[in-house]
């Protein structure tokens, strides 16, 4: 996809994430909003995947380690045609194929079940390792949350990725500045995420996590570096691009209906037209 198409795709991911959560009545909107752009780049441009054959042998793999943000992933997968758009109406309802946390058994296109934080990154490291042992040249991508990096297991996984020089592993950190109980600094000061990932041996850079071009270019640069795992820190803001979430100081999990949701969707469309998407005049 071209950059403008990717931007439109990320807007659609946000729009359908809002509709999906509004139908359920509540959900993890804040962290879903902040990964919409990276998901658009991965599924719209970078990843070798086939919606008609989700398990194809040579595909690139993706693990959403922050599994509670599955609504955004589900929206991206549905928009790509991995499953019918109608499924999005069923999030978290009894008997659904779309549970709140990403589920590989129920959802075509989900490569690993996640939900207990800190583990998806390890599974992704295992996937990257398995692909290398099997002499495949595909890539493994993983998104962790910045709050998720509180978990010690995240750093265990990083040590392993570095030790085995898993250079076909790209880790994104959704640096949206907030976790459930407050800001990162308030809950558990990360000091410097960039310095930490560099110290753990990752080829690391920080980009505007809401700018699809910057994200895509960073991935292309990462692919040129061999011998090291890659970390792209997405400098973003929790709830960014979803006005109803931007309006809340703490938006990890919000309750809202379709009326409120459609107001935000209108604003997203306005921003796209004005060229101010995704953040509008949002003040950092």
């Amino acid at each position: 996809m071209q950059i403008e198409e990717l931007r439109k795709f990320s807007a659609d991911i946000r729009i359908w994430t809002i509709r999906t959560i509004a139908e359920a009545g509540f959900g993890h909107i804040g962290g879903s909003a902040s990964i919409a752009d990276v998901l658009a780049v991965l599924y719209g441009d970078v990843m070798n995947v086939d919606p008609k054959n989700p398990k194809k042998e040579d595909r690139d793999w993706f693990v959403l380690s922050k599994g509670h943000c599955a609504p955004a992933l589900y929206a991206a997968l549905a928009l790509k045609g991995f499953f019918p758009m109608d499924w999005l109406k069923t999030l978290n309802k009894g008997g659904t194929n779309l549970p709140s946390h990403a589920d590989m058994q129920r959802v075509p296109g989900v490569d690993m079940s996640t939900g207990s934080l800190g583990q998806g990154i390890s599974a992704a490291v295992g996937i990257a390792m398995a692909n290398r042992i099997q002499k495949k040249d595909n890539w493994t991508y993983c998104i962790i949350g910045d709050g998720e990096s509180n978990e010690g297991q995240v750093w265990e996984a990083c040590q392993t990725a570095n030790h085995f020089k898993l250079d076909r592993f790209v880790l994104f950190v959704d640096w949206n500045k907030k976790q459930l109980d407050g800001t990162l600094e308030y809950v558990c000061d990360p000091v410097s995420l960039e310095n930490k990932f560099k110290a753990f041996g990752f080829e690391t850079e920080t980009v505007k996590g809401y700018d699809v071009k910057e994200i895509r270019d960073a991935i292309l640069r990462a692919k040129e570096v061999s011998g090291k795992p890659h970390c792209i820190i997405l400098d973003t803001y929790k709830g960014l691009g979803v006005p109803l979430a931007e309006a809340e100081e703490f938006n990890h999990y919000l309750t809202f209906d379709h009326v409120k949701g459609e107001e935000s969707i209108e604003e997203i469309k306005n921003r796209l037209e004005n060229g101010t998407y995704p953040g509008g005049d949002f003040k950092w």
């Binding site: 390890s122 490291v125 996937i127 040590q159």
Partner: protein, 322 residues
């Protein structure tokens, strides 16, 4: 087919050596098999594997949580991972990792725990798993195994590599007594009757099978004819064998190198209760206490797991038959 060994001697080869040799053989035949180690590659006997297949011996260091979740990822990507560490770390320490990255997503992960129960010896209470079977038994769909000797261990390992799903196997890493003849083949989920009998049944597993056999021999001299069942598959338990034994002998004694809560005694009594079977029931195992340091003979006596205590339990059960 299962045959008993002609002589029951302590095998000069340690079980961990058997593990290393067997997994290496399996890996030679199955290129999907990988071993994930947590800085216990030597202790678990897997040096030969690492030498033969360095690219498939993944030593993650002292990172049980990461290693276990990685096993799930490797399974998702088509490999057959054997996750190896001491039993306490293979279960207690990584319980959520097993749940999240193996059981819940229905992946194919083999969890191999060394140092079952008292066989943790000088590593002591911190390393002595008496709770592992109990906590693993509530994990849906998991298979739980405890081999009683090296012949069974080899056979079960070969089967694990071929069957899909999550299995936990606990074993004693050191030397064990030969129970079975080389080449015996066991069916997972089907108990093996080591000895027939009419007066009571000892249902046991692991290193206590030999204790139960000695107890049965002593009891025979007293005129008590005991059936001995090697219940090496603790989950799914062989309910048919339990019910048949209860009917046939009218008394049940369980013996395990594990807490009395959650393990074999619990599993067997659940089967009896569910089926409305009321027979005298005694149990040998570890009570409400933690492990401690000591050698195996000391600990077997300390926790009342030897043939002497099993025989006492059988006498008590038989007496209750009236």
């Amino acid at each position: 087919m299962v045959k008993l060994a002609k002589e029951h001697n302590v095998n000069p080869k340690e079980m961990r050596a058997i593990y290393g040799e067997t997994l290496t053989e399996i890996a030679a035949e199955n290129e999907k098999v990988v071993a994930i180690n947590c800085d216990l590659c030597s202790s678990m006997g897997l040096k030969p594997f690492a030498k033969a297949f360095p690219e498939r011996a993944i030593n993650v260091g002292i990172q049980e949580a990461n290693g276990c979740s990685m096993a799930g990822g490797m399974s998702a990507a088509g490999m057959v991972p054997f996750f190896n560490t001491f039993s306490v770390f293979a279960t207690r320490r990584v319980y959520d990792q097993i749940f999240m990255c193996a059981s819940y997503p229905h992946l194919n992960v083999k969890i191999i725990g060394g140092d079952a129960g008292v066989s943790a010896t000088s590593n002591g209470g911190t390393h002595m798993p008496f709770e592992d079977i109990g906590i693993m038994r509530v994990m849906p769909e998991i298979t739980i195994l405890e081999p009683s000797d090296s012949v069974m261990f080899k056979d079960l390992l070969r089967q694990l590599a071929d069957i899909y799903g999550v299995q936990y196997l606990r074993f004693c890493r050191k030397n064990t007594v030969d129970i079975y003849e080389e080449g015996s083949h066991f069916t997972i989920g089907k108990a093996n009757v080591v000895k027939e009998g009419a007066d009571a049944t000892i249902i046991t597993c692991g290193i206590l099978v030999w204790e139960a056999m000695k107890a049965a021999e002593a009891l025979a001299k007293e005129g008590i004819n005991v059936k001995v069942v090697d219940m090496f598959t603790i989950k799914p338990i062989d309910a048919e064998c339990i019910l048949e034994s209860a009917k046939q002998t009218g008394a049940i004694v369980t013996a395990e190198n594990h807490h009395l809560i959650g393990g074999l005694a619990s599993a067997v009594s659940e089967v009896l209760a569910e089926n409305g079977v009321s027979v005298p029931f005694e149990k040998i195992g570890v009570g409400e206490e933690f492990g401690e340091v000591g050698d195996v003979p000391y600990l077997m006596e300390r926790f009342r797991l030897t043939d002497k205590y099993i025989a006492q339990a059988v006498r008590a059960a038989v007496a209750k038959k009236g």
